[in-house]
Symmetry: C2
């Protein structure tokens, strides 16, 4: 009958509050208030405030990496791989907009050694993307371009996606059409 545990409820409340106010601005008392109990009770569910951030950041990072790894390991040509990476991003952003928001906005608040560990995961993801683009350039699927800049541009261009789903206003956005539009832009640009 019970579909979520109390700990999951607590983490979810934390996630939403952090998304609304930011990690530093969200106090343990804020979270406890939303849960309807005293601050001290929060520590029956997590070890520390930092742990909340770490939990979501590394879990969602793992999700992105898993998708990326499967795509890279496939035998699809580079353009199809890129399309699938974009597709995967849209799926995660649509399903877990608050988690993605955390990844975009709050990773700076990690403390050592988790901070360095997270940066390393970020860099690794970026390198995988560079590798994908390089493969595409070598196989003449992509044009000859600076793959580092292209990676930064492409990754950045899909970073806003979570906002489309976190702000309920635009939540009716059709993921299929969204993907079509973004892939169209990344593949062929804006010119006719």
């Amino acid at each position: 009958m019970k579909v979520t545990t109390k700990k999951e409820d607590f983490l979810q409340a934390s996630l939403e509050l952090i998304h609304e106010k930011g990690f530093k601005a969200t106090t343990m008392r804020d979270i406890a208030d939303r849960m309807g109990f005293d601050v001290s009770n929060s520590y029956n569910y997590i070890k520390s405030k930092q742990d909340i951030l770490e939990f979501f950041l590394f879990r969602t990072s793992e999700e992105f990496h898993a998708a990326m790894n499967d795509i890279l390991a496939s035998s699809y040509p580079a353009d199809e791989k890129l399309k699938q990476v974009i597709s995967a991003h849209i799926k995660v952003a649509a399903k877990k907009p608050f988690e993605v928001a955390l990844m975009v906005n709050e990773w700076r608040n990690l403390k050592e050694p988790k901070y360095t560990e997270y940066i390393r995961l970020r860099d690794l993801y970026e390198r995988k993307m560079i590798q994908l683009l390089q493969e595409g350039v070598q196989t003449k699927v992509f044009k000859d371009m600076d793959v580092h800049i292209a990676t930064a541009v492409i990754l950045s261009s899909i970073r806003w996606l979570y906002t489309a789903y976190a702000d309920k206003s635009e939540a009716e956005l059709n993921p299929i059409e969204l993907e079509r539009q973004i892939v169209g832009l990344v593949f062929n640009g804006v010119l006719v």
Copy 2:
């Protein structure tokens, strides 16, 4: 002889510290320490901590709007206008990376009524961009596309630019070549 005032020095130190640690994590004592004087002396230079944030955010926002307005008011075709907007972004990011970092990362820390005021400026800028793209679609310079999504993608894709200049490591990045690469991607995409 004196090229900067003490107040300008103070604001610059604040800016760099906020960029390093984040606005909330930067204390008035941090800034005073870097300036080499007591906290209380800081209040001879600014009214409050919030004022530091507001100062940079609205000043730099103004800079972006001014550039955008000039470009929109010109008689260039839409593609040339878009190229100039991208060019303007690169110029500002190269010249004031820390200010741009603040715009990207710290606007959430504004308090009412400045928060709402700032959001309004952001939305206005986005609407100007939508208008530019719409103009391009109508004049058949740009392909038929969802201009809202395209705006989000393009604006997001140039938001990372400041990192290339804030982190000294990549500071040797040639702005001319950077612009060429980004315009190439935005105009024609990655495909051959």
